[in-house]
């Protein structure tokens, strides 16, 4: 059982730089064909100040922590038993190359189903940039399966 006292806990904020190379890499790895995600001229023509981060990129920025499995390790979860249940984003100002983003992650809930055979962890992350602009939120549901 995951310690329910994690509910309501906020993890230390992460400050992370958004790099153009990282954005191009992500675009290539996902087969992105729209040039605004790889070509700065195209991005600017589309009204962005630099390459924009794609819709799911907050998730990737959150992996830039010293320990990318921070909450999994903190909660004592077996990594091999983790499945991604749901993921949701809301959007504020665009995230672009050159931005410095601050991510603050809070554990919203932990509960179980099937008599404890599956546990669910809900994490909500808020993001702001160097100008203090609201970049939106992401909310993830992690499912921990018990293979026994």
């Amino acid at each position: 059982m995951i310690d329910r006292s994690f509910i309501g806990k906020t993890f230390p904020p992460l400050h992370v730089d958004v790099e153009a190379g990282q954005l191009r890499n992500f675009a290539r790895a996902t087969g992105q064909r729209d040039p605004i995600y790889t070509d700065e001229t195209a991005a600017k023509a589309a009204g962005y100040r630099a390459l924009p981060a794609p819709l799911t990129f907050l998730f990737t920025l959150d992996q830039e922590r010293e320990d990318r499995f921070y909450f999994i390790n903190a909660m004592g979860i077996e990594l091999g038993h983790v499945l991604h249940g749901e993921q949701a984003f809301t959007y504020g100002a665009p995230i672009c190359a050159g931005d410095r983003v601050t991510l603050t992650c809070t554990c919203m809930d932990i509960y179980d189903k099937k008599g404890g055979a599956m546990e669910f962890v809900i994490l909500k992350t808020k993001a702001t940039n160097q100008l203090g602009e609201d970049l939106g939120t992401m909310t993830g549901t992690i499912v921990v399966r018990d293979p026994k």
Binding site: Q22, N25, F26, R28, A29, T30, G31, Q32, R33, D34, P35, I36, D39, T41, A42, A45, A46, G47, P52, P54, L55, T56, F59, T60, L61, D62, Q63, E64, R68, F69, L79, G80, H81, V82, L83, H84, G85, E86, Q87, A88, F89, T90, Y91, P94, T139, P147
Partner: protein, 140 residues
């Protein structure tokens, strides 16, 4: 410069309209290795078959966030990214190596404030649903 012409307007869409479908290339083990690196999701269950088997899985499988990135392509091929206000998905079932994922979507509601609600889906070559999601876009 952009090859993506976005001319969708609130007045021009109606409930039931379909978004143009987007289909991925087959997901190879290389795809998963490159996505692990590029996305920062280094969970070995997606790239290391020894780890996957030790965790009780028959093989590695695709990152859920890879499928969600493909769903994102569906949205941003239809409207500019800044039109997207909300985007969410459930990961319905595991996406296997070699899957070819097709993303589809349709307009389910028009709301005040020029908002349009969509239901979106990613399915493999057998028609098995892998991701089932929703989005809200704000149109001119």
């Amino acid at each position: 410069m952009s090859t993506f012409a976005h001319d969708v307007t609130f007045a021009g869409v109606k409930v039931g309209d379909s978004l143009p479908a987007v289909t991925s290339k087959p997901i190879s083990r290389t795809t998963l290795a490159l996505f692990a690196g590029a996305s920062g999701d280094h969970n070995p269950i997606h790239i290391d078959i020894d780890f996957a088997k030790a965790a009780g899985m028959p093989d590695v499988f695709a990152h859920g966030m890879l499928g969600m990135a493909y769903l994102g392509h569906l949205l941003t091929a239809w409207v500019p990214q800044r039109a997207v206000r909300e985007f969410s998905t459930r990961f319905v079932s595991i996406t296997q190596v070699h899957a070819v994922v097709t993303c589809t979507g349709r307009v389910v509601e028009k709301r005040e404030g020029n908002l349009v609600a969509l239901e979106i889906e990613a399915a493999d070559q057998n028609g098995d649903v892998k991701l089932a999601g929703k989005a809200v876009v704000e149109l001119p």
